[in-house]
């Protein structure tokens, strides 16, 4: 499956190919001896690929596994299963020096760089550190010249060099974080909620900067965010995640024109648009209830407990696979064609809640998890 955004890509192999990726975290209990009492299936079988020079946007509500997927690609967490092939090389097989070299080609941009920037280092030392660590040629003079180019690329004045992270505004700190991540001329940037912590007027500056750098340096991006409008703006291809799996993937324009998965439709209809005329006239698909726990995901289609289109057959007991419904349009829903063609109609959220209330009790899907740690759901503020 290829996430080709433009047919123009003739260089063949995508830069990144992820197949069957799973990350399961054990849930430990016990005071003296840790017992594993279950698993949080943070990422549960994801396939995606990203072509060179394009941007893949990953959206979904907090807790659906976006950050874990990003971290697993960089092997900051060990995948439970699946493969990550970067530029033709299986990352999982790498150890030692080859792994270090590979990591240099894949860099991460975080939500708030203040958390990832050492407060005691000034900008000059923050930027020279990765250069020295990877033994960039040219000695001190070469490094100094390189740092100036970096500052220039991200739109910071040279005077910034002697200052410390806390002296900068959120937007400027994000520029420092970006400068650091491109210092070693990587091929792939994984940006995890790069603008979520910023004021709206400043968000646009950073979005524009990322787009400009992509063009100038030929970068490939995986942009992870909960804000669908930001993701749609910046991405060529968008993947929508729900409880550890991709439910839909499409070119950004198509996804907005005609979302195919019920979850995507609900998500899009819930994003407020800063225009009262649009807000007053658009159809809103309200969902019933909260995100189920990834430690105890529903059987069958994972979205069936909240899906306004859920059917009596298949939805509860058959896992839908991600299939190509139209060119470059992937969706995992048994009834996608019927929903697209308007043959099936959505139910009201109250009705869904009522049905699911009965249903859960009747088939005994399992005890309701009352531990919020295990539920671990929609608690963002700090999006992680």
């Amino acid at each position: 499956m290829t996430a080709t955004a433009t047919p123009a890509d003739q260089r063949g192999e995508p830069l990144l190919r992820v197949q069957g990726l799973k990350v399961h975290f054990p849930i430990k209990r016990g005071i003296f001896v840790d017992r594993t009492v279950g698993h949080v299936r943070a990422v549960d079988g994801v396939d995606l690929s990203i072509d060179r020079g394009t941007t893949y946007g990953l959206v979904g509500e907090s807790g659906c596994g976006k950050s874990t997927l990003g971290r697993a690609i960089l092997r900051l967490v060990e995948p439970t299963a699946g493969s990550v092939v970067f530029d033709g090389t299986d990352v999982a097989a790498l150890r030692g020096e080859p792994l270090r070299k590979m990591r240099r080609r894949m860099q991460m941009v975080f939500q708030d760089p203040l958390g990832s920037l050492d407060p005691r280092q000034n900008v000059e030392s923050l930027l020279s550190e990765p250069l020295r660590a990877h033994g960039l040629d040219g000695g001190n003079a070469g490094i100094a010249a390189h740092i100036r180019t970096l500052l220039d690329a991200v739109g910071l004045p040279v005077a910034a060099l002697r200052r410390y992270p806390h002296e900068f505004s959120g937007g400027q700190r994000q520029r420092i974080g970006i400068a650091r991540s491109i210092a070693l001329e990587p091929d792939l940037l994984i940006a995890d909620e790069p603008v979520s912590a910023l004021d709206v007027s400043v968000q646009a500056q950073v979005v524009n900067l990322l787009e400009e750098l992509q063009e100038r340096l030929g970068l490939t991006y995986l942009v992870i965010a909960h804000d669908l409008a930001v993701v749609r703006h910046i991405s060529d291809v968008v993947g929508v995640m729900y409880l550890g799996s991709l439910v839909e993937q499409a070119p950004a324009d198509d996804l907005y024109e005609e979302p195919l998965h019920p979850y995507t439709r609900a998500l899009m209809s819930a994003v407020p648009v800063p225009d009262p005329v649009v807000e007053g006239s658009r159809e809103r698909i309200l969902l019933a209830g909260d995100l189920p726990s990834p430690a105890n995901p529903p059987n069958g289609c994972r979205f069936h407990t909240r899906c306004p289109w859920r059917q009596e057959t298949r939805c509860d007991d058959e896992v839908p696979v991600l299939r190509e419904l139209a060119p470059a349009r992937f969706v995992s829903c048994h009834w996608a064609e019927e929903i697209r063609d308007g043959v099936l109609r959505p139910k009201a959220p109250e009705e869904v809640a009522a049905i699911q209330g009965v249903h859960v009790a009747a088939t005994g899907v399992g005890p309701v998890e009352t531990d919020a740690l295990v539920q671990g759901i929609d608690q963002p503020i700090e999006r992680t």
Partner: protein, 358 residues
């Protein structure tokens, strides 16, 4: 065409419809020895009628939360100076004693915060917390209060309310906690509800549920709602009248259709041009505002937005113009604080409004 076009717009104030809340020239100054004073809120005036929703919108640090805390009488007494007037149903709250304010809070005015955990007691079950509000403010037996609490949880969309009443705040998801807080706020049918970024910490599908709940509440009970948010999308869907704040002052006020169709203050226009819209054609460039909210000058020296403003001219500074930039009437039901506002070609009668400056 301005005020009547909104589907849930409230009857205009003045037709025998007294405002529930009237804030006049509110100012809050934080004083700390050895430090310069912070004028967090500086001459803010607005009012809200029954069944009306107003929005206070602006970026972080512009004074939205301090305004709401001042209205509720929740600011600390030490090192804080509050001046101006806050009238709830005609009763002056600035300078009122703590006892009076406590009686009004919960009963006549209530507040919902961004982080519900901080306003719920972690060691007390949700049910007890709701029933305590009821027992304090309403004449009820404990049994009646428990029944009423369950009814309230049900009303805000918490499934299985009787079981939930026994649970502790940490056992609920963020969305459920926010509902529980709204249930508490509603318990005495307050005349005024202030919601300070109530959905900022929630995911969009949950946000949609909460906003729907607030909409119903205003329509069903005629509560006056003050919605505080940085999200222009939320404002566009919910607020009848919008006040845009910058550096502690209101810089533009208009009915929502007017504001979004023809923002006049360069800051308002800049905000609208910098947010990506889900429905805008892809590739449409974003036009950011330069600098950050830190790049500001004191209002006494000129327009606080001048360092970031593309329309700024010399007379935006006090020393050039000889006066500070004031909030002045700007056509029907509009107010504006700007010397060089965004201009629009006169719209032919009946024509649809042009899109925002983008």
């Amino acid at each position: 065409m301005s005020s009547g076009s909104s589907s849930i717009s409230a009857p205009p104030v003045g037709l025998g419809n007294q405002p529930v809340l009237e804030v006049t020239d509110l100012a809050v100054r934080f004083t700390r020895r050895g430090e310069a004073d912070t004028r967090a809120v500086d001459g803010v005036s607005f009012s809200v009628a029954p069944g009306e929703t107003i929005g206070l919108v602006g970026e972080s640090g512009c004074g939205k939360s301090v305004t709401s805390l001042a209205v509720m009488g929740l600011l600390p007494k030490r090192n804080v100076q509050v001046s101006g007037s806050v009238r709830l149903d005609g009763q002056e709250l600035v300078g009122a004693d703590a006892e009076t304010l406590r009686g009004l809070r919960g009963a006549d005015m209530a507040m919902v915060f961004q982080d519900p955990l901080s306003s719920l007691n972690p060691t007390v079950p949700i049910g007890t917390q709701v029933t305590e509000v009821l027992l304090e403010h309403r004449d009820m037996t404990r049994k009646e209060a428990v029944d009423e609490a369950a009814r309230l949880l049900d009303r805000v969309g918490i499934p299985d309310p009787l079981r939930r009443l026994k649970e502790y705040p940490h056992q609920l998801s963020g969305g459920m906690r926010q509902r529980a807080l709204i249930a508490m706020a509603l318990s005495c049918s307050p005349r005024l509800l202030i919601a300070d970024e109530p959905t900022t910490a929630l995911d969009v599908t949950i946000q949609a549920q909460i906003l729907e709940l607030l909409r119903e509440l205003v329509v069903d009970s005629g509560t006056a709602l003050v919605m505080i948010t940085h999200d222009l999308g939320v404002v566009a869907g919910l607020c009848d009248r919008v006040h845009v704040m910058y550096a502690g002052k209101i810089i533009e006020t208009a009915d929502r259709h007017e504001l979004f169709a023809r923002p006049r203050q360069p800051y308002t226009g800049g905000l609208l041009a910098s947010v990506p819209r889900l429905d805008s054609p892809r590739g449409a460039p974003l036009t950011p505002i330069r600098g950050s909210a830190r790049d500001t000058i004191a209002w006494a020296d000129g327009c606080a937005f001048a360092p970031r403003c593309d329309s700024a001219q010399d007379d935006c500074l006090t020393e050039v113009a000889g006066s500070t930039v004031e909030l002045v009437p700007d056509g029907p039901r509009r107010e504006l604080r700007c010397r060089h506002p965004i201009e629009y070609p006169p719209a032919p009668a009946g024509a649809t409004a042009p899109g925002a400056a983008r």
